[in-house]
Amino acid sequence: MSELENKANDDGPGGGVHHGTNNGPEDDKGLGLGVVFFMGAFLVCFLSGWLLFPKLLYSKKEQPFNFDHNLHVEETGDCESCHYFREDGTFSGIPGLEACMECHTDEPMGETDDEAVFVDEYVAQGKEVPWLIYARQPDCVFFSHAAHTVAGGMDCKSCHGHIGESSSSRPYEENRITGYSRDIWGKNIWGIKKNSWDRMKMDDCADCHLERTGHKGYCFQCHK
């Protein structure tokens, strides 16, 4: 293009100058518009991928009512009061209504609306609370709390983070395709993790196993 323009300029002094002065600014304008268009399209695509895709991929569900971990830890003193091992070595996970009713009765102990919901709708009717479990692994996974906490000496925080200090239950996010909790893939849509509890995929298990035991483990160690 520039060669042609140069030739045009060489053709004649009058015509060449005329063409040259007209063409220059027009080309710059086209290039500028192209860059603006590219940036605009990039921004739209980037933002829609960044902000809309997670919303599209995950559905949000609220817990039946808010649970204040902080308050309960203050009252009971530790995690094990509610999240305990059964005699057969299995882990109770989220305790059943029976465990809650060791302290709670038909009368609310506090004054929050959430406890009123708990007492009226679940305790009074003897109904289990349908909690949504953030940390639930896919069906093919066998996870042993005994192996990690009792035999491995790990604390709850290493995998669950600072859940014990939270005073409200965040919404449960479910992957619309797989049905798994968002906590498995992690909050970061690109799968970047900063803390050990940010993501709980198979590779995360394997990395820690390799580090601590020198072996990723055989399939059946964590699968069923």
């Binding site: 091992f85 070595g89 299995t90 005994a146 192996a147 009792v150 072996h215 399939c219 069923k224």
Partner: protein, 285 residues
């Protein structure tokens, strides 16, 4: 190998003379492991039976006719030289099946399997089965499924796991009590269901376990065939197709010679040479 861990080698010995062919092992296995069945089970070619009872006859006419029943779970082969290269594990392109060097159990991971069925072709014991359909449970029956065993989907291969979930659960209990698991804490469903007590299950590496005491496995390679390791020193104990060197962890036992001979294919005159060949005497170790 995982360090600082006691290496188990779980296996079983099945007394063919005690087996009545009742099929309780097959039923218990299916219900324990959420094994799906078809609406019409009359075509046995694509039925899924992790444990299958075969019927053997000595081929003689009355009055010498004899029948024996041979239950066949996955043999959990150790592969040539017992190094963990089982026929199925060696061929799987997806690493959907592996050999657990800590237990000697061959796994099968259904979510990893993509159903090429290469392992089924590699298995000399027909112990692997393909899911041609998604499981369909009669209404209400899904409530009876075991939560400890993951159900399978269409298009994947499945097989006997030596009830590995029972090992997982037994280990959890032992862990919170800070001890090792005991022999009777981990027993497969077929073992516990057998009314004749024909199946004995345990750790072949543990001399205190009954299975070790019956089988008395020779830990050294067989001098006649170096592929074979763990040959029994008990003259009545044999393995299926033992000379292939797949080194199964399922042993069979019979006092009847024709049953022991049925465990492999022998050329004319071959049996006479090998029938008295057993694992080396205990002086070996």
């Amino acid at each position: 190998m995982i360090e600082n861990k006691k290496v188990h080698k779980f296996g079983m010995v099945i007394d063919v003379d005690k087996c009545t062919g009742c099929g309780a092992c097959m039923v218990s296995c299916m219900s324990e492991n959420n094994v799906p069945f078809k609406e019409d089970e009359s075509n046995k070619k694509d039925s899924i039976t992790w444990m299958r009872v075969y019927k053997l006859t000595n081929g003689k006419s009355f009055p010498e006719t004899e029948i024996a029943y041979l239950p066949r779970p996955c043999q959990h082969c150790g592969g040539i030289g017992d190094h963990g290269h089982s026929p199925c594990v060696s061929v799987c392109p997806a690493t959907a099946t592996d050999y657990g060097y800590d237990t000697g159990i061959v796994s099968q991971i259904y979510t990893r399997c993509f159903g090429c069925r290469y392992c089924m072709g590699a298995c000399p014991y027909h112990a692997r089965y393909f899911n041609w359909w998604d499981p369909k449970w009669p209404e209400g029956m899904e409530n009876y499924l075991s939560p400890n065993v993951s159900p399978r989907m269409r298009g994947v291969v499945e097989k006997c796991s030596f009830c590995y979930h029972r090992y997982q659960l037994a280990r959890e209990k032992a862990m919170i009590e800070h001890r090792e698991i005991e022999e009777m804490e981990y027993q497969t469903a077929c073992t516990t269901a057998c009314p004749a007590g024909a199946i004995v299950f345990g750790d072949l590496n543990n001399p205190a376990h009954k299975v070790h005491q019956i089988v008395k496995p020779d830990p050294h390679p067989d001098p006649m065939n170096h592929k074979v390791v763990g040959k029994s020193r008990n003259p009545n104990v044999f393995r299926l197709l033992e000379r292939l060197g797949t080194n199964p962890k399922v042993y069979y036992m019979s006092e009847r010679e024709w049953v022991r001979k049925a465990g492999d294919n022998y050329l004319k005159g071959e049996w006479e040479n090998v029938k008295t060949h057993h694992g080396a005497s205990s002086s070996h170790g």
